[in-house]
């Protein structure tokens, strides 16, 4: 027995391939959509992975530092270090802001702005970028930065963060905030300053405001005003303390005493993931899931319509085939095979297309092989399901239509 479906495909291959490519692009969009969702989840995971922490210590009753703002005194880390089971702990600050190229580096690159997450970390401690793709780690305690390649900054360039210029000394990769903003790593002290120090005008205004307050600027107490102003400009706050527990110690057993006795909140990796994925990106995820469902429905409808019209175009042949004694099963098989073939071409085209255009997306698109396999199964199921419409139409064809018509 020859393959009727195969012969039909070979016969009208142009139409078939073009339809397949069209469908493939649609499937590519669907896969990309899934990739965008996976990318968001992966961004969140990458954020947690890259921090290298087992435990996040944040301000009490907050879900910081990523989902909410959290503020801690920077000496908290010392008391955390003293707890049993803690291997390493470090202060970290996070601040999302626009990072500018410094002036005076040539017309074209002046003022290039990138939205980035500024991470203040202590070199050699948790929170440090784990790997680089170029350059070196920070060696000076001030004014050096390691940036994610997605920022577009190059080694040796100078970037401006608030009041200071930083030299880019290292490049890293896949270091992003949960929102997908690339990270810029700078020394903790600089970051603390960047987070709380304002522009010159604001500082002067603040000084004037303090000086105008008679309670703070008392004539009989020389030096009081200066002391107050200095304390206003200094910042000893951080957003979180990253903790690495000793191998073999469950993170929760370290978190519990922190919550109970230090009056701080502590999240384990699992809890942090829950916060990031279930809370921070939940709406976006639902949005994408909605879109995925619509795309799947649209794809299914399109496959169904394509197969249906292809079948309708062959009604006479099907009637003849039935009249000369072809089994219904054979005809249904033919249509099903065509639908699956279309689906397969579409899937391959879609997968290739999605992979090719994924790097162009501004945010990370993660195409997981598991998703691809699920996608293939889904495409095949959808195609099989969609072909039922055509199969029903084909089976309803009266073999008598071929004669006596």
């Amino acid at each position: 027995m020859i393959s009727l479906a195969g012969r039909d495909i070979l016969h009208s291959w142009g139409k078939f391939v073009l339809t397949g490519i069209g469908l493939g692009l649609l499937i590519g969009v669907t896969l990309s959509m899934a990739g965008i969702y996976r990318g968001m989840v992966d961004d969140a995971q990458a954020l947690l992975d890259n921090s290298g922490a087992d435990l996040w210590v944040v301000q009490q009753d907050t879900q910081g530092p990523y989902a909410e703002s959290s503020s801690l005194r920077d000496d908290v880390v010392r008391s955390v270090l003293g707890l049993p089971g803690v291997a390493r702990a470090a202060n970290v600050t996070y601040l999302t802001m626009q990072v500018r190229q410094s002036q005076g580096q040539g017309e074209a690159r002046d003022g290039q702005e990138v939205r980035a997450m500024i991470v203040g970390f202590e070199p050699g401690q948790p929170g440090e970028p784990g790997y680089l793709v170029a350059g070196r780690h920070i060696t000076r305690s001030h004014y050096e930065a390691v940036v994610d390649v997605r920022t577009g900054f190059a080694l040796g360039e100078r970037i401006r963060i608030r009041r200071h210029d930083y030299t880019v000394v290292g490049l890293t990769r896949r270091m992003v905030s949960s929102g997908g903003d690339p990270m810029v790593f700078i020394p903790l002290k600089d970051a603390q300053e960047a987070q709380f120090l304002k522009d010159n005008d604001a500082i002067l205004n603040d000084r004037a405001r303090t000086a105008a307050n008679p309670a703070l600027n008392r004539p009989g107490v020389p030096g009081l005003l200066e002391a107050i102003q200095a304390s206003q400009a200094a910042n000893h706050n951080v957003n979180t303390v990253l903790v690495q527990v000793q191998p073999g110690v469950p993170a929760e057993s370290v978190a519990e005493p922190i919550r109970r006795w230090k009056h701080l909140e502590a999240y384990t990796r699992a809890q942090m993931e829950e916060i990031l994925i279930a809370k921070l990106i939940a709406t976006s995820a639902r949005q994408i899931a909605m879109f995925l469902v619509i795309l799947a429905v649209v794809s299914a409808a399109i496959v169904a319509f394509i197969i249906y019209t292809m079948t309708l175009g062959k009604i006479r042949e099907i009637a003849v085939l039935k009249l000369i004694g072809t089994r219904n099963r054979t005809i249904a098989g033919m249509i099903l095979q065509q639908a699956l073939g279309l689906g397969l071409i579409g899937f391959i085209v879609g997968k290739v297309a999605a992979t090719l255009w994924a790097p162009i997306f501004p945010k990370y698109v993660l195409l997981e092989p598991g998703d691809a396999v699920r996608g293939l199964v889904a495409v095949m199921l959808i195609c099989a399901l969609a072909s039922t419409l055509a199969i029903r139409a084909a089976l309803k064809v009266d073999p008598a239509a071929a004669i006596g018509g």
Binding site: I2, R7, E317, L323, T326, D398
Partner: protein, 235 residues
């Protein structure tokens, strides 16, 4: 005569039930011997189409008997279980247009039937080629149907009808779109084939050009057949 060809006795077909029932066929009797070509003519509404469908094992008659190639197909409400297989193995169809399957080449169009009947591809193709040669289109065996002329297509369709060596071939207006010369050529081929393959051929037609060629003609009027002797014009 009973063991081959086709024999129909008292065939009736009623559509619907009760008050709205319509008797399309009231009393049809036909006998066609192997190797014989008979004409079946009748105006529209005479029950010709219904008879054709009954003959083609597409619809079942309400009553009456039909024996095809020695096999009883219908007998007063009883029918053989597998009409589809019957159509495949025992009835050849030639249509008004060739109705070739466009995505199969000429050989496979013909070979499809033996293949459907369970023959091996090689066997089926050998049989197809044999028929194509017999019908003088052997040189187009590898062509696509769309590449053939109308006459060639019609020959291929005849070859397809013969593919499973059915005891009977139903030809439904096979010459309608053709001019008289080509129409006569088709009838000539049908006659040749009937003789060569020992097949009973029923040509349903109202084509005045070819009616004179039949030796026997069944007229169908108001659901009843009348047998006539045709001119039997030599081709």
């Amino acid at each position: 005569m009973i063991d081959a060809g086709i024999r129909i006795e008292g065939l009736r077909k009623r559509y619907g039930e009760g008050d709205t029932a319509v008797d399309a066929l009231k009393d049809v009797n036909m006998t066609v011997a192997p190797g014989e070509v008979v004409g079946l003519i009748g105006p529209s509404g005479s029950g010709k189409s219904t008879l054709l469908k009954c003959l083609g094992a597409v619809i079942e008659p309400t009553a009456g008997r039909m024996i095809l190639g020695g096999q009883t197909i219908y007998d007063d409400g009883w029918k053989i279980p597998d009409l589809r297989a019957l159509r495949r193995d025992s009835i050849g169809f030639v249509f008004q247009a060739p109705y070739l399957i466009p995505f199969l080449d000429v050989t496979d169009n013909v070979a499809l039937l033996p293949m459907l009947a369970g023959r091996s591809n090689d066997e089926a193709r050998a049989r197809a080629l044999e028929l194509l040669v017999a019908l003088d289109v052997g040189h187009r065996a590898k062509a696509q149907p769309s590449e053939l002329s109308g006459g060639e297509q019609q020959r291929v369709s005849i070859a397809r009808a013969l593919a499973n060596q059915p005891p009977v071939i139903l030809a439904d207006e096979p010459t309608a779109p053709l001019d008289s010369e080509r129409a006569l050529a088709v009838v000539r081929i049908l006659n040749q084939m009937a003789t060569q393959f020992h097949t009973a051929i029923i040509v349903v037609t109202h084509d005045e050009k070819i009616i004179p060629t039949f030796k026997r003609i069944y007229h169908i009027r108001d659901g009843r057949t009348e047998e006539e002797v045709g001119q039997g014009l030599s081709l």
